[in-house]
Every structure is written in structure tokens, then in C-alpha cells.
């Protein structure tokens, strides 16, 4: 310790806090704005761009929810598309079996999003609990195996009772109910929930589990709880994204939820910067748009895409944002007087 007075004292640090009700009110306002934007977009926007926007919205949900598992809690999961598939099929199968009419549509769709999310969350428990003792690459490969099992099973099931599932031919002609408002409402909720969860006293241990499990336990952190919680919350939102994607195109193909899809989502997380929520959002948008931008290259499109990916990793291995958030200034607390 220094002989002179320490240059900083505790009273120098103060944080300007915005009251919770103000932020919540602003968020509600944002929802209303989203609704109006959605109205306008559904009517006036070119379907191609609208479709692209919706894909970005779904990608954001997937990337942010996987970031909670992979980037923030450090549990390397390669089975996120499996959770998505659970939600997608719950939503798709029910909606196809009983297509709602008129005013029932939004109510049922909202219910389905929650139901699909819960089903995926249940799958999250199913995967999270037994694989708790696995670490790193072994966990990755076990979750990969889980995802593959899901696609194989979906490939084999033609129907459950009177509910058509579709088997390897896929499920088609699902009523299209996804729109701008629902997609971005779900994305907003996902981002707010994950961000509020992890940047708080209750949620900070998610990071601690990633950094050092033994030290976290020695600090009184119930590591098992936080690992399972990450899987459950992450899987829930993946399920919601699944419901959205099922009713975006109206078609479901089991092959679309394989390992390649999971890898795509992992790429978004790493490219954005593991642990950075805003990074995931950014990367979700970039990686959805990139193949579109490269359309002019025709048959070389995906080659260039892969090359760009490699180059990005070589030149900026920490991802676009590292483990920072976009809104952070270098010092979150201000030294008032110095």
C-alpha cells in the first residue's frame, strides 16, 4: 500500500441512476411504437425487405439467447437449433391442426409462442441437468448429439394422433401468422430479459460460472442452479424463435434444424463477441444480411462468405465488440471530483 493518501476514496464514486419506472415506461412506449411501425411495414414495405427484417429479428432472439448459455455462462452448447426445433414444431403442428380465425389469431399466437418456449425450456432442463458434469468440448458434443437426435426423431415422426408432424417430407402450409410486431416484440423481450438478468446482482454469477466455477462456488454461488437457469432461459427464447420461424415461411423441414443451423448461431455469438449482448444483436444482423449483400457474386457467394468469416476471426478474434456492450463508456461509474 502506498505511503501517501490513496488517490481515490469511496465517496468519489457515484452512479447516476434512472429510476426503474421511467425505464419501464420507456420500454412500454417502445412497444407501442413497434406496433405502429409494424402496421406501417406490413402494408407498405417491400415483402423482400420485410422478410429480411423478420429473419434478422429471429436471428437476434437466437443469438442473444445462445449468448446467455455460451458467451455469458460459458457452457459451450452446439444444440441451440434443437431447442428451436422443439418450439417450431410445437407452434407449427398446433397451428396447422387448428388454424384460428379473426381476433383469436393474436391471442392464440401469443399463447403458442409461450407454449413453444416452455416446451423448449423443458427440453433445456432435459439437456441441462444430465450434462451438468460435462465440461467444454464434451458438453459441446453432448449438446450437438442432442440436437441431432431431435432432427432424426422429427424426420421419423409422421404424425402424433391426429396431429400431422410431417416426417422427413416436412410440415407445409402452416398458417402464416408471424409479423413485424410479434417478431420484434419477442426480440425486445428477449434482449431486455437477458440484459437485465445478467447485469444485476442476481444475475452476475452467470459470468462467475464462466470465469471460474470453483471460485464461484467458494463465493456462495450455486453453480448448478445458474447453469441450468442459463439453459432454461436460453432454450425458452430459442423455442419462441422457433415458433416465429415456423409461421414465417409456413414450412418446416427437420433438416433445417440440424447441426449447421446451431453452428450458424454460435457464429453470431462469437462474431459479436462472446458475452456481449449488443454484439450478438449486431452480429445477428450482419450475418443475416451478409449473404444478401453477396448475392451479386452468384456462385462465389458462399465462398466469399466463408473467407470473410475466417478473415474476421483472424483480424478481430475477440469479436466485433469483445465482451463489452455498445452502451458502455470506459468507466461506468464517474469519479465526480478528482
Amino acid at each position: 500500500m502506498t505511503q501517501t493518501d490513496p488517490p481515490f476514496t469511496a465517496t468519489m464514486f457515484q452512479r447516476r441512476r434512472v429510476p426503474g419506472w421511467a425505464v419501464n415506461g420507456a420500454l412500454l412506449g417502445l412497444v407501442v411504437v413497434l406496433w405502429f411501425i409494424g402496421k406501417a411495414f406490413d402494408k407498405n414495405l417491400d415483402p423482400y425487405y420485410l422478410d429480411l427484417l423478420l429473419h434478422i429479428g429471429i436471428a437476434i432472439i437466437l443469438a442473444v439467447s445462445l449468448n446467455l448459455i455460451n458467451g455469458i455462462t460459458g457452457q459451450f452448447s452446439l444444440g441451440h437449433a434443437g431447442f428451436m426445433a422443439v418450439g417450431a414444431y410445437v407452434g407449427g403442428v398446433i397451428l396447422k391442426h387448428a388454424a384460428p380465425q379473426g381476433a383469436a389469431v393474436p391471442v392464440m399466437f401469443l399463447g403458442l409462442m409461450i407454449l413453444g418456449g416452455l416446451a423448449a425450456a423443458a427440453a433445456g432442463v432435459l439437456v441441462g441437468v444430465p450434462t451438468l458434469r460435462l465440461r467444454g468440448d464434451y458438453l459441446a458434443i453432448a449438446t450437438l448429439g442432442f440436437g441431432e437426435i431431435i432432427t432424426v426423431v422429427l424426420n421419423q415422426i409422421e404424425s402424433i394422433g391426429s396431429y400431422e408432424v410431417g416426417g422427413s417430407a416436412g410440415l407445409h402450409n402452416i398458417p402464416i401468422t408471424t409479423n413485424f410486431f410479434w417478431t420484434f416484440l419477442a426480440a425486445l423481450i428477449c434482449v431486455v430479459v437477458v440484459a437485465r438478468l445478467v447485469y444485476s446482482q442476481k444475475g452476475r454469477p452467470f459470468f462467475a460460472v464462466r470465469e471460474d466455477e470453483i471460485a464461484a462456488a467458494a463465493m456462495g454461488v450455486d453453480t448448478t442452479f445458474y447453469k441450468v437457469a442459463a439453459f432454461v432461459v436460453g432454450a425458452f427464447f430459442a423455442g419462441v424463435a422457433g415458433v416465429l420461424s415456423a409461421t414465417l415461411s409456413g414450412n418446416l423441414d427437420p433438416a433445417a434444424f440440424g447441426f449447421v443451423r446451431s453452428i450458424e448461431i454460435v457464429m453470431m455469438v462469437v462474431l459479436g463477441g462472446s458475452g456481449s449482448i449488443t454484439g450478438s444483436i449486431l452480429a445477428a444482423a450482419v450475418l443475416t444480411l451478409l449473404p444478401e449483400w453477396l448475392r451479386a457474386l452468384e456462385s462465389w457467394r458462399l465462398v466469399i462468405y466463408a473467407l470473410l468469416l475466417i478473415l474476421m476471426m483472424l483480424l478481430r478474434p475477440e469479436g466485433l465488440l469483445g465482451n463489452r456492450e455498445l452502451w458502455w463508456t470506459r468507466r461506468r461509474l464517474l469519479a465526480v471530483e478528482r
Binding site: D137, Y138, E148, I310, M313, P317
Partner: protein, 310 residues
């Protein structure tokens, strides 16, 4: 019984190929702790090289004992160079970065190879059949009692099995008996200490990639003869081989062989014995077995359990 025997032969023959690919995964993992996702695509490039070489050779009408070695050795050499280049350009600069970064780069390399070969200017996405170098026919046949179909083994099965086992023996000789092999073991035990002992880490890692890639090339050529050649063939085969490596305990060379053979056996036996309508589940079963094994032995069958020092 004879059905079982037949499945056993088929399973071993398929499993031997898994084992060859799994060896590359496990060796690279041993030295770099990296899941080399591009390895499955190196196997694909091996198949493509074998296909192209076979197309050139078939016109020469050379005898089989010249054609086959040239095809195999050519594909091996080509893939060894590819493995070296991949490691040198894509993984070496990232060696001290978090492992996830190298993993994503590996996925990038995998995408690059797949899409490069899917490009119609290079190879194209359509599956192609290998030129017929020899007729695949049963050469060993054990007649079964009671007029049932005999248990047979094709010449290709025999070639693939022999090749795989010879290569595995050669590899274990290399790893256990040569100076380079000792260096390799030292590096996979502890990189920094190995460096202090005067081992050229970069060269050891390069050799590991070249060896693994050459083995994958052999697997690729065998599969090219058995099935067909297409740019995406490395994806599923690569995952299965990787699962085999994990099953056996990743990082362990005998583990990769054991895992590969087991994987092949489980798959064919399930295909053969699952009741009608359910055989489609055999693909899932492989992963199911993997998860079960990991739950009982979190580091695979022959992997060493690592206790973390507190």
C-alpha cells in the same frame, strides 16, 4: 447368427473408416485442444482427389497394383499439404486466443472448402461416381447352414479393413517408437514444457495436421469407392467420426480407433436389428450411445479423467 456375423463385418468395415477420420480429430485435439471442424472436409477433399486421380489413371489402363497405390498416395499427399496450409494460415495465428475463436475459424475453413468445391467451376454440387477401377464383389464367402445367404466380405471391405489396420499400426509405431512421435506425445501432454525441452512445437503441430489429413484422405478414397463423391460428404461423416473420437476419449489414439469401430458396429447392428419402421432411428442411436457414455464416463472410454487442482 450369420446375420450377426454379416453385420459385424459390415460394421467393422464402416467403423474402420470412422476410426481413420477420428484419428485426425483426436491427434489435433491432443496437441492443440482444438476441435478441427474442417477435418471432415479434408476427408472430402481426399475423396475428390482420389476421384480426379482415378479419372486420369483409368485412361492409362495401368494394372491395379500401380493405379491403386498412386491414387491413395496422391490423395494422401494432397491432403497432407492441405492440412499443413490450413494449420499454418488459419490456426497458427490464433494459437494463443481463446479456443472458441479457433473453433469458429475451423468452421469457417470447413464452410470455405465445402462451398469452394460446390462451385460449378471447380467440382459442382452433384454427386459423382468414382470411375470403376475394379468390380466390387464378394471375395470371402462363408456358406451358412440351412440354405441361408452366405456371410460375405467384399474385396473393398477387405481393402478398407486391411488398409485401416495397417495404417493404425504404422501410426502407433510412429507415435510410440520414433523421436517425432515422442515429441508429439510430449506436446500433447504439456505444450509449454515440451517447448522448454527444445521441441519445435510448430513443426510437431504441422506434422500432426499432415498425418491426420493423410489418414482422412485414405478414408475419403475408400468411401469414394464405396459410395460416391460430393462436396458435402464430409459433414455427416465428419460429425460421426468426431463423435467416435469423443466416445473413445478425445486425445487418445487407441480411443479413436476403439470409438470408430464401436460407432460403426452400433450403427450397422441397429440398422439390422431395429424393427422395420424404426431403422431410421439408428442415426440418433449413435448420439444416444455417446451421451450415455459421457454421462457415465465424462471423458470418454479411454480418456483420462482430469481432476482440477484446487
Amino acid at each position: 447368427m450369420h446375420i450377426f456375423l454379416q453385420q459385424l463385418i459390415n460394421g467393422l468395415s464402416i467403423g474402420a473408416v470412422y476410426a481413420l477420420i477420428a484419428l485426425g480429430y483426436t491427434m489435433v485435439y491432443g496437441v492443440l485442444k482444438l476441435i478441427n471442424f474442417a477435418h471432415g472436409d479434408v476427408y472430402m477433399v481426399g475423396a475428390v482427389l482420389g476421384y480426379e486421380l482415378a479419372r486420369c489413371m483409368i485412361g492409362l489402363a495401368a494394372p491395379l497394383y500401380i493405379t491403386l497405390p498412386i491414387i491413395f498416395l496422391g490423395a494422401m499427399a494432397g491432403c497432407a499439404v492441405l492440412g499443413f496450409v490450413i494449420e499454418f494460415c488459419c490456426y497458427r495465428p490464433l494459437r494463443h486466443r481463446p479456443r472458441l475463436v479457433a473453433l469458429i475459424t475451423a468452421i469457417g475453413v470447413s464452410l470455405l472448402l465445402e462451398n469452394l468445391f460446390q462451385n460449378p467451376h471447380l467440382f459442382g454440387a452433384a454427386p459423382r461416381n468414382m470411375p470403376r477401377l475394379f468390380d466390387i464383389k464378394p471375395i470371402i464367402s462363408i456358406p451358412a447352414a440351412g440354405g441361408a445367404a452366405p456371410v460375405t466380405m467384399s474385396n473393398l471391405d477387405l481393402i478398407s479393413l486391411c488398409l485401416c489396420f495397417v495404417l493404425m499400426i504404422a501410426l502407433s509405431w510412429f507415435v510410440l517408437r520414433t523421436k517425432m512421435g515422442l515429441a508429439l506425445r510430449a506436446v500433447s501432454f504439456r505444450v509449454d514444457t515440451a517447448a522448454l525441452m527444445g521441441i519445435n512445437i510448430n513443426w510437431v503441430i504441422s506434422v500432426t495436421f499432415m498425418l491426420g489429413s493423410a489418414l482422412a484422405a485414405v478414408a475419403g478414397v475408400v468411401d469414394a469407392m464405396r459410395y460416391h463423391v460430393e462436396p458435402m460428404m464430409g459433414l455427416v461423416q465428419g460429425i460421426k467420426a468426431f463423435v467416435a473420437a469423443v466416445l473413445g476419449g478425445i486425445g487418445s489414439i487407441p480411443g479413436a480407433v476403439l470409438g470408430g469401430l464401436l460407432m460403426g458396429l452400433v450403427e450397422t447392428l441397429l440398422k439390422g436389428y431395429l424393427p422395420g419402421g424404426y431403422s431410421g432411428y439408428s442415426d440418433a442411436a449413435a448420439f444416444f450411445v455417446l451421451i450415455l457414455v459421457l454421462l457415465v464416463r465424462p471423458t470418454g472410454l479411454l480418456g483420462k479423467p482430469v481432476a482440477e487442482k484446487v
